[in-house]
Symmetry: C2
Subunit: 520 residues, 2 copies
């Protein structure tokens, strides 16, 4: 089988000789070693990745510590009963498992500040946690870190209808904010499948992407201000609510996407766009990835400013959704599917544009079939196919999702290669879907019972491949605990050294979310 | 006159008693003191702001240093003739004047790295300079700093038509990039009046705003990657060309908007939007600022996703443009003018939307008069009224522009107050214009001969006012040298301390653009 894969790669990889040669060597070596690895791998740790990590030299929790926490929070907000603590120790995918003995639930910035000051003085490691919806094990403890949950920091502080700026505490759930803004004619600049559970502080701390990024840009552009608490308890107030503010260094970016390792985000100010009057969704069937690519380029040209999402999935992804969740495929069976969304201020204009685009794409043969929806219930039904895909994979038994960015022309190439690499293993599905408009592929791997060695087979090949294409080994999910050893594939040594220096500057004792992003 | 101003302020400032009381006290004190200040002010320095600054403990330039620079650059790229060096010592507004004796013009990152390593070893201060179009004195030396001009680093390195990502050296002129992209059906995500001279490295280093920010967002969202050289010559490669890349800290933001104090930006990767097929511009006359505000809100609602600029100017601004530059006002005389631009993918749809908006605004009486243009020559003529305003003020003799962000409802309030405060001084015009869509006002002050005491009258009042409204004392122009003493009006002490810590981390000897943002 290996020779077949190599031949297939060799045929496809003619555009860049160095990439091809290097990758082939690498893939062959990894596949050759995988059997041996599989035999010797032991589930030494309770997570699939953390086996080689040693606990840092942090203090152990004592009853004195607990008494202190109870003195600044009321007792109900200091959880120590193992059954209460357990849900905070395990991630959504059940791939990362911590051993924390305590969860603290502050309500205010001052409480977070007091907790951190104390933990820093006592050298107690902490793990900040929002909605615990991350998929890289970043939001659960690795050992016995104290969990600081932001879930009770859920106050919306202000909303300005003139500017569209909302200011809120970190623990507000994304969907709650969306519903609140909707009542005022506005919407959040980000949307993602986990919106019912994920918290805005976690979104900001992981620079979450999602399905609106194509239209409204990244959180780095939409977060106007952040309040965060440093490891020593000092509150850094960069909570500007201004669209423009060029007064000194843009410190908020230290906290956007640093996964809680430089500070705990306590408040956020976000620029929110007005809600669109007209939303249309099209679900398309296509015969090849080449047609998917052509269609995405045409959509950008012909739908221009109203294109708000451009998603793709392969047949194997749709099959998981229809088989496991019993959702209905609104069109026939095709190798690829696309979900396009338009949102604009004039329904008639938008439908004109979308109709023209769909008709010309059908006539040219770029798309095989498609449905279009304008009514909210039908739009929701179509979006569910895309948004509930992770739930569908999880229903197989276990599920790992990989999240890479590569140049658009190489977007899907790794999926068939990886599928072949995984033939003969316990993997049931290896599929591709993602945010085509952003060059962001999610590679989904699922099966009945997890084999802890699988990441050792998949990851070196996937990340080496991504690195050779100058892609990102984590487009939107972050590094967390699962990807620490691969950080160098996407970041230069000088960048990693500078990250360490900044970590040392802001958190010299390394108490904030240790073992994440890079090993301390 | 003072009592009249105070009465007027008192009538207007009922919405926030604390703001009013504090501001009145402050304004009265400043106005009372201004005569005394005026009498004692001496033009101790060659700049209007730098008189109190002491030269840092940097080495003096020697012939050995010059020989070294000539050994790594060819002699033509080491300027030491005073007449060659002089243009690099003075800013565009002729308000900041340095005394550098040498200008270095590297062509490559490696040359920048070698220069900085040497300067750091020798404790020689440097001043990075792009197109020298800044208005806060940030890009010219204060004393004898070595000027490192990026103007020969002008190579466009790559452009990907699939993703719209351009990668280039820092010295590329904005308009050159715009023209290059235009040939490929794309445009830059930023545009500003200085586009013919300003360089993208300077734009990035100052997080430049401009007239497209409303539509395409800030540079913080559009810059995908940066390569920068630290003070010690180390190259930090964050030159990702990916739309999404969540692998560790987002280090590029250390260099976006830090005004060359943390590193010299050498390369940039930018996300560029496709060029719009249809552009329309409307120039409107309005009878009051209240109508301006209503019109801007209506424009956002009715023009939605196609609104690409929403600018305003008062009558006094237009008067400067028509008197000094002989540009024609296409409509009658009104207290306020607005310039709206739409850009979209369908001319017919866009004109429908714009016509509907203009008609309903005329009928409701929110706008008094207006013209609309769709032909490039007419669009250019209307845009010139806005874009050439700085040139018009400069033609008065001297010109200072202040650049603040305040909540939209307070956008114009300071202009009439400041006009009255400045009555009886040498000021000829005190006018307001700005990016209404971003809450960003430019307060323009001009006259025949500069009075170096004027900033001492204007700035404390303006910045105190801005600070009380939780605004920004520099929305898009940066801090440079002119605003260092006012940084605390927009930034908390803890933030300023953290900025100092980061400066110390990245540039421990403080050689990079000293005296800027904050005094070393």
């Amino acid at each position: 089988m290996l020779s077949k894969i190599i031949r297939k790669i060799a045929i496809r990889r003619t555009y860049h000789e160095n990439i091809r040669t290097s990758f082939l060597y690498f893939a062959a070596r990894k596949l050759h070693n995988s059997q041996t690895l599989q035999q010797t791998a032991q589930n030494e740790s309770s997570t699939i990745h953390a086996s080689s990590i040693q606990r840092g030299n942090y203090s152990q929790l004592t009853s004195d510590h607990i008494h202190f926490f109870e003195s600044i929070l009321d007792k109900q907000r200091v959880l120590t009963d193992p059954s209460d603590v357990e849900p905070y120790n395990v991630d959504w995918l059940k791939l990362a498992q911590g051993q924390s003995k305590i969860v603290l639930k502050p309500k205010t910035t001052e409480e977070v500040s007091a907790i951190l000051k104390y933990c820093n003085d006592e050298t107690l490691a902490v793990c900040p946690q929002g909605g615990n919806t991350g998929v890289v094990g970043g939001s659960v403890p690795v050992f016995d870190e104290i969990v600081i949950s932001t879930s009770l920091m859920n106050q919306i502080l202000s909303f300005d209808e003139l500017s569209g700026v909302v200011m809120c505490q970190a623990g507000c759930i994304l969907e709650t904010l969306e519903n609140y803004l909707s009542d005022h004619g506005f919407q959040m600049p980000l949307d993602l499948g986990a919106k019912g559970s994920c918290q805005i502080g976690g979104n900001v701390s992981t620079n979450a992407g999602g399905i609106r990024l194509l239209r409204y840009g990244s959180l780095q552009g939409n977060v106007l201000g952040v309040e965060a608490v440093k490891a020593n308890g000092e509150v850094i107030d960069c909570l500007s609510s201004l669209k423009k503010d060029n007064t000194g260094y843009h410190l908020k970016h230290l906290f956007i996407g640093s996964e809680g390792t430089l500070g705990i985000v306590t408040k956020v100010a976000l620029q929110c766009p007005p809600i669109s009057k007209a939303i249309n969704v099209a679900f398309l069937g296509l015969k090849s990835f080449e047609e998917v690519l052509k269609t995405s380029i045409n959509a950008r040209k012909k739908l221009g400013e109203i294109l708000s999402s451009c998603e793709m999935m392969d047949h194997a992804t749709l099959d998981a959704v229809t088989s496991n969740l019993k959702l209905q495929n609104p069109i026939g069976e095709y190798p690829f599917y696309m979900l396009l969304e338009t949102s604009g201020s004039n329904r008639e204009h938008d439908q004109d544009k979308l109709n023209f685009f769909l008709q010309s794409s059908l006539v040219s043969g770029e798309i095989e079939d498609g449905v279009m929806a304008s009514e909210p219930s039908k739009i929701k039904a179509i979006w569910e196919i895309r948004e509930r895909a992770p739930e569908a994979f999880k229903a197989d038994g276990w599920y790992i999702v990989y999240d890479i960015s590569v140049p658009l022309k190489h977007f899907y190439e790794i999926v068939p290669i990886m599928s072949k690499c995984l033939a003969g293993t316990s993997v049931k599905r290896c599929t591709g879907m993602g945010h085509l408009g952003d060059g962001n592929l999610h590679l989904n791997v699922s099966g009945k019972e997890i084999d802890p060695n699988l990441p050792n087979i998949i990851e070196p090949i996937l990340y080496e491949w991504t690195s050779l294409l100058k892609g990102s080994i984590s487009a939107e999910h972050g590094i967390g605990i699962h990807k620490t050893k691969y950080l160098h594939y996407s970041k230069s040594n000088s960048s990693i050294q500078l990250m360490h220096n900044i970590k040392q500057l802001l958190d010299p004792k390394g108490i904030l979310n240790p073992y994440k992003i890079f090993h301390n």
